[in-house]
């Protein structure tokens, strides 16, 4: 009887199988394989491509000694903090707040411009950003018009360029999240505060932000994860250069594995990225569980 019940339950869940197979083969499999390959000296070509040898933690020891790794870890943190947490998140919130005060026409028009940068294919946005920041590009034209000196942005300050570009590209997501969140703030709350003489800034800091703190936390988590994985924008704009000056972890993993053919070492970099993603993923699950009523 029990066995029969269990059998029926298994049968009922049969439709889940195609999804599970796809996820196991193409996501879980590569993640597990990455942990394994990072402990070998697998190569892209040559004898290590056919017969990789087990080298234990050698790749990780090399990571710790390689000056490129701490640099790229630091650049990744800088990129996420600058373009996701400060740029997209704060600008997205500011846009959402301003849009409630502005004329609907203005809100809609500006909203469309912000969303357009986000909906465009990644590679097109990357080319547009590249042209914008390049030596004879639009930004320098503008600075020149105001009598300011030109800067070769992509060479002199590559991280500033990619951080600004990623802020331009991704702010729409935070803006949409915060517009929805602000719509959910009960009007009575802010009206009551206004009656008590609270100014606009006080109402924002003491009423609105605490009410939408769940959305803020969720948004921070999601934009962090999205930004952690950014490759195309940086690769097209600076290719990680000059002199590794904008090589974040995804770019480093790609270069080591595909440019230098060192799959084992490149995979060790990828494993670090997977682990960072996993920490944020677990924090995200926890956060959602706490938010559920």
């Amino acid at each position: 009887m029990a066995a029969n019940h269990r059998g029926r339950q298994v049968l009922r869940y049969l439709p889940v199988l195609p999804a599970v197979v796809l996820l196991a083969v193409f996501l879980a499999g590569p993640v597990l394989w990455a942990f394994h390959a990072s402990l070998t000296n697998a190569g892209l070509t040559g004898k290590h491509a056919r017969n990789p040898e087990w080298v234990g933690l050698e790749n990780y020891q090399r990571l710790l000694q390689d000056p490129a790794f701490p640099l790229s870890l630091a650049l990744t943190v800088l990129f996420v903090a600058g373009s996701a947490i400060l740029g997209q998140n704060v600008l997205g919130l500011a846009l959402a707040v301003l849009m409630r005060r502005a004329r609907p026409m203005v809100s809609a028009t500006v909203g469309t411009a912000v969303v357009a940068a986000w909906v465009l294919p990644e590679i097109v946005a990357a080319f547009a950003a590249y042209a914008f920041f390049s030596r004879d590009g639009t930004l320098n034209q503008l600075l020149g018009a105001f009598g300011l000196a030109e800067t070769d942005w992509l060479y002199a300050v590559p991280m500033v360029a990619v951080i600004l570009a990623n802020t331009w590209r991704g702010t729409a997501f935070s803006m949409l999240v915060y517009r929805a969140a602000l719509n959910g703030v009960p009007a009575e709350l802010t009206e009551a505060a206004q009656m008590d003489g609270a100014g606009a800034w006080q109402r924002l800091v003491f009423i609105t932000l605490p009410v939408i703190r769940g959305s803020i936390a969720t948004n921070l988590m999601l934009v962090t994860l999205q930004t952690l994985a950014v490759f195309t924008l940086i690769w097209v704009m600076t290719a990680g250069g000059p002199a590794n000056g904008s090589t974040t972890l995804p770019v480093l993993a790609y270069q080591e594995a595909f440019k230098f053919g060192d799959i084992g070492y490149g995979t060790a970099v990828a494993v670090v990225l997977i682990l960072i993603g996993a920490v944020f993923g677990l924090a995200y699950l926890r956060l959602l569980r706490e938010q559920k009523p």
Binding site: R12, V16, L98, E122, A126, F258, T267, Y284
Partner: protein, 276 residues
């Protein structure tokens, strides 16, 4: 008093918003002006002799049609595989109660947090082992796997919104589970399924890194990768053609986005199930 206050504040907000909006538009302006300027470079300027020469130059089978066709195969294929797998998976998760549901959905949500760029090295290795490099079909399967976690969440949320009572009525009339799903549940969640499909389609259409690593021959490359052909062999870049091609390649996803944003009245649908 408050009225006047409110109005001054609103003008102030208008000005700041318009300034920010202008900053967001500038890089896009280059695309539009450059595409119409046969002598386009990095800078933004009004074309001296505006014309459609750039568009005419890219209007060839090799440059435009084959890459866009490959993009279409890749994106539509990914959308279909993802949607079928997501609907099948969502059905038991939405309709049956089991201890299995919560851990499964948590694992799926955790999967949405995986940085896909981190697994491209092992995926390349997998494709080499299985001799799947350059296969559009295999790339479709991989892209479908990366879209599935979010798609299953969205699909299940849409399915949960269809009352079970409607299906039960059909079962009483002798319908099977499968025909109940087909004739009652799916039609009612049609708009939701459309959103999921377009969401996945747009992501696949715009994806550069995955086809860049997995599709090596020119014959199978989608537009996201073939766009590099505008960078000449000796470093010369055909900027005007690049801009024209970029616009032709972007128009389908912009149109799809407008359809979803208009239809559901909620652009956030495309941002995924933000609240989980």
């Amino acid at each position: 008093m408050t009225g006047r206050h409110g109005r001054t504040r609103s003008v102030w907000a208008d000005v700041v918003l318009l300034l920010i909006g202008a900053c967001f538009l500038l890089p896009l302006l280059w695309l539009v002006l450059g595409s119409l300027d046969p002598a386009a470079g990095h800078g933004t300027k009004l074309p001296q002799q505006p014309g459609l020469d750039n568009f005419a130059a890219v209007f060839t089978p090799e440059l435009l049609f084959r890459p866009l066709w490959n993009s279409l195969l890749l994106s539509a294929g990914t959308g279909i595989v993802t949607l079928v797998a997501a609907v099948l998976a969502a059905y038991p998760l939405s309709r049956y109660r089991s201890r299995f549901n919560t851990p499964f959905m948590s694992a799926i949500l955790f999967g949405t947090c995986l940085p896909v760029t981190a697994i491209m090295v092992p995926v390349y290795g997998l494709f080499v082992q299985l001799r799947l490099l350059d296969s559009i079909f295999a790339t479709v399967l991989f892209l479908a796997a990366t879209s599935l976690p979010m798609a299953i969440w969205m699909t299940r949320n849409f399915m949960d919104a269809v009352p079970l009572a409607l299906e039960e009525a059909a079962w009483v009339d002798g319908a099977s589970r499968l025909s109940g799903l087909r004739s009652i549940v799916l039609p009612l969640m049609g708009p939701g399924l459309g959103v999921v499909f377009i969401f996945v389609f747009i992501q696949a259409w715009g994806n550069f890194f995955v086809p860049f690593v997995l599709l090596l021959s020119e014959a199978s490359q989608p537009a996201a990768v073939s766009i590099f052909s505008f960078f000449g062999q000796h470093g010369a870049v055909a900027y005007g053609q690049l801009a024209a091609f970029s616009i032709l390649y972007s128009v389908p996803v912009l149109a799809l986005y407008v359809i979803v944003a208009r239809g559901s009245g909620n652009a956030l649908a495309l941002a995924g199930a933000v609240r989980g």
